[in-house]
């Protein structure tokens, strides 16, 4: 079963604790954080559970159709939008429980002082293809 682990720049439940943005950490803390993320992905490749991971730039926009022959409406980018996705990891695992376990581990990435940042990650199951045998 595939799950999407969504990382947000902003949004989600009340943060466990507040911490400064990464550019205010020490270089060693930045390295430790990035190294943790990389090692996590490498370990999941090793267990055969890793599918994909991508990071997104913060600036984007909302776009919608505006009728025949008209250019689409573009709204944004929004500097203060409440919910902003930072990137994702897709994993293919045995169960929901395993997905939650891994998301919990990923959320323990170190921050200032080497302490886990307790970041909220959103876990969403993929909808699958319908089964071949349906009755």
């Amino acid at each position: 079963m595939k799950y999407l682990l969504l990382k947000h720049y902003r949004g989600g439940p009340q943060p466990h604790h507040s911490y400064p943005p990464m550019d205010r950490w020490t270089p060693e803390e930045v390295d430790a954080h990035i190294g943790f993320m990389r090692d996590f992905a490498a370990r999941l490749e090793g267990t055969g559970e890793y599918v994909d991971g991508q990071a997104l730039a913060p600036d984007g926009a909302f776009v919608r159709y505006d009728g025949e022959g008209r250019a689409p409406v573009v709204d944004g980018p929004f500097a203060e939008t409440k919910d902003l996705i930072a990137g994702w990891m897709i994993i293919d695992v045995e169960s929901w429980d395993r997905a939650v376990e891994l998301a919990g581990e990923l959320s323990a990435a170190p921050g200032p002082g080497g302490e886990p940042i307790h970041e909220w990650l959103e876990v969403r199951p993929f909808l699958t293809a319908p089964p071949t045998i349906s009755e």
Binding site: P21, M22, D23, R24, W25, T26, P27, E29, V30, D31, I34, G35, R38, A55, A57, P58, D59
Partner: protein
């Protein structure tokens, strides 16, 4: 015969099929099919005449396709039974393929994909893997590109500049994925250099070799980006540098300067410096002036400002970027570097943080975050020592 040698035969085989009367699109498809069979069967059962094998196998596929549909037959031109052939014509025909694949009517991504397949002899599967897209998507991109250039005559000299631009693009995105696109770009440009004796082709090849020579030093542990000034120059590939410099000198001696020779000259000056501090920035600025004259762009001017900052000091560099649009990619990172060197650490850290937000790649973003963190730490330390001069 290894895969690389096999791939080198592809453009010449396509050219033979086209000369026998097949159109480019079906010849290219047929050779791709023959190539895939060759990759599967040759390791076990290598042919005595690899090129002959490919021509025969691909030609059979062209004929099969013609027989398969009478509607198609109308579109196929008369098929010559005895094609004229000769090495000179072979070379000219192969060169035409380069022009066709880099045709100005093609979007750059399509031109690159088509070049990799028809000139580079890569399979669709390999090209898809290199660009991290599904194979079916890449197959469609290539066939749409071929439809777009259908009917373009193969016997007309094209613009070498468009070919070089496509190869430059291919090289520039070359460090990632399972297929080494930078190495493929070098291989294809070498092939081109053997067909077209032009200083700019040599210039582009030299530029590629000089950058490729530094490749091992460009990334540190965990894929982190190492800027030129901090690279371990002992790991630079001296053989590639020597080859690149030799090609460049021969090209420059012909006195027909172009943008790739100018870029290669800048790369050669970096390669020539035993340590970052020994870089001849004054001469590099002069080459950037040539580059602005030959191929002006905001990116070139931004890079020139970096060189000016090194040659004449950070204030001069800041004055040079003041004339540029801050929307140019990497503007914030360059500004941050110059402000740091000018001693304005707070401004530098904020600009590095901004550069991280606007970075186009993850390694670049991580690098800028690290720089911001480093400069903020420096700033905090200097504020502490200002408060307590004894400590």
């Amino acid at each position: 015969m290894n895969d690389a040698l096999l791939r080198e035969l592809v453009p010449a085989v396509i050219a033979v099929l086209v000369r026998r009367g097949a159109n480019f699109a079906s010849a290219e498809d047929a050779v791709q099919e023959a190539l895939v069979s060759a990759l599967a069967s040759w390791p076990e059962d290598p042919p005595r005449d690899p090129k002959g094998w490919l021509i025969t196998a691909a030609w059979r596929k062209v004929l099969d396709e013609i027989r398969a549909g009478s509607s198609r037959r109308a579109r196929e031109l008369a098929v010559h039974a005895e094609p004229p052939s000769g090495p000179v014509q072979d070379a000219d025909d192969t060169l035409q393929l380069y022009f066709l694949c880099a045709h100005p009517s093609l979007p750059p991504a399509s031109a690159v994909a088509l070049t990799l397949r028809a000139v580079g002899g890569l399979t669709t599967e390999q090209i898809a893997a290199a660009y991290l897209v599904p194979e079916a998507t890449m197959a469609q991109r290539i066939s749409r590109a071929k439809r777009r250039i259908a009917g373009q005559p193969l016997d007309r000299a094209g613009d070498l500049g468009t070919v070089l631009r496509v190869l430059y693009l291919l090289f520039n995105e070359g460090y990632g994925g399972d297929v080494d696109l930078a190495a493929e770009a070098i291989r294809i440009t070498r092939q081109l250099a053997a067909l077209a004796d032009e200083p700019e082709v040599s210039g582009l090849l030299a530029l590629m070799l000089l950058h490729h020579a530094r490749r091992a030093s460009r990334t540190g542990p965990g894929g982190r980006l190492v800027p030129l000034g901090e690279q371990d120059r002992a790991t630079w590939d001296t053989a590639l540098i020597a080859e690149g410099v030799g090609l460049l000198q021969a090209a420059l001696a012909r006195d027909r300067l172009g943008q790739y020779q100018a870029q290669a000259a800048i790369a050669a000056l970096h390669a020539d410096a035993p340590a970052a501090e020994e870089t001849d920035w004054v001469q590099i600025v002069e080459w950037y002036d040539e580059l602005v004259r030959l191929a002006d762009s905001p990116v070139v001017r931004l890079n020139r400002a970096v060189a000016v900052g090194e040659a004449d000091g950070p204030r001069a560099g800041l004055a040079a970027i003041a004339e540029l649009d801050p929307g140019v990619p990497r503007y914030a990172a360059v500004a941050a570097h110059l402000h740091e060197r000018a001693g304005d650490l707070t401004r530098a850290a904020d600009l590095y943080a901004e550069a991280a937000r606007t970075a186009a790649s993850a390694p670049e973003r991580d690098h800028c975050v690290r720089q911001a963190a480093r400069v903020r730490q420096l700033g905090a330390a200097s504020r502490r020592s200002a408060r307590d001069p004894s400590g």
